[in-house]
Amino acid sequence: MLLSLVLWLTACSTISTYDQTAYLQAVNTKVDALTLMSKATDSYGNHLSDVAAFQNELDKAYEYERGRPLNKDTVGQWDILRDPNRDLLGGFLKEWRESGKLLPVYVERKKTQIGEAFDKIIQLESGKIKSASG
C-alpha cells in the first residue's frame, strides 16, 4: 500500500524539471536578441542575414521547449515573445521590417522591455526543481 502511494505521488509531477540546455538557450537567445535589436536604428535591408540567423536560433530554442513534456507554461511564454502580432520580440522584428529603421530611444526602450520578457522565461526555468542528476 505504501509503495503504491509513493508510486502514485511520484507520477503526479505537474511541471518539467530544470533543464540546463533550456536555461542556456534562453540566456544566449536573450543576448543575441538584444544585440540584433541594437542594429534596428539602421536599415533592415542591411541586416537581412543577421535577422535570418537569429530567427533560426530562435526557432531552435522554441522547438526544443515544445519537445519537453509538462512544459506548457514555458512554451506559452515563448509564444507571446515570438508572436509577430504582439508587441514583444516578434512584433519588434516585424515593425523593423515594415518601417525600414527605428528611432534610437524607442529601440532602447524596447530592448529593456524584451530583456525583461526573456528574464521571465529564465526565472521560470531557474525555479523548476533540479533533478538529482543535475
Binding site: 511564454q77 526602450r109 522591455q113 524584451i114 521560470l124
Partner: protein
C-alpha cells in the same frame, strides 16, 4: 489487509502540514512581492515613455506598442507564477513522499 496505525498517520499529517506551511507559504509571499514590484515598475515605465513622446524621441505608434508590450509582459509574468506554483507543489509532493518513508521506516525500527 494491513493498515497504518493512527500514530503513523498522525505523524505524517503533522509533518506534511509543517512542510506545506514552509514551502507553499513562502511561494505565495514571493508571488505577491513580484506582483507588487511589477505594478510599480510599469507605472514608472509609462511615465518615462510619456516623457519620451512629449520630447519627440518616440512616436505615438511606438508609445502604443510599449504600453501593449506591458500587457504581454504581464501575461508572461502570470505564466511564470503559474509554473513556479506548480514547481512548489511538486516540491511539496516530493517532501511528502520523504516524510511517509521516514515515518514508516522509523515505525518499523521501534
Amino acid at each position: 489487509m494491513a493498515i497504518l496505525s493512527d500514530d503513523i498517520k498522525n505523524q505524517i499529517i503533522e509533518q506534511a502540514e509543517t512542510l506545506a506551511r514552509t514551502l507553499l507559504g513562502r511561494f505565495v509571499n514571493q508571488a505577491l512581492q513580484d506582483g507588487n514590484a511589477f505594478l510599480k515598475q510599469t507605472e514608472n515605465d509609462i511615465a518615462t515613455w510619456l516623457q519620451d513622446l512629449k520630447q519627440g524621441d518616440i512616436t505615438q505608434k511606438n508609445f502604443d506598442s510599449l504600453v501593449r508590450g506591458e500587457k504581454d509582459l504581464a501575461q508572461m509574468e502570470a505564466l511564470k507564477q503559474a509554473g513556479l506554483g506548480q514547481a512548489a507543489i511538486d516540491t511539496f509532493v516530493n517532501g511528502f513522499i520523504q516524510i511517509v518513508i521516514n515515518v514508516a521506516i522509523a515505525a518499523i525500527h521501534v
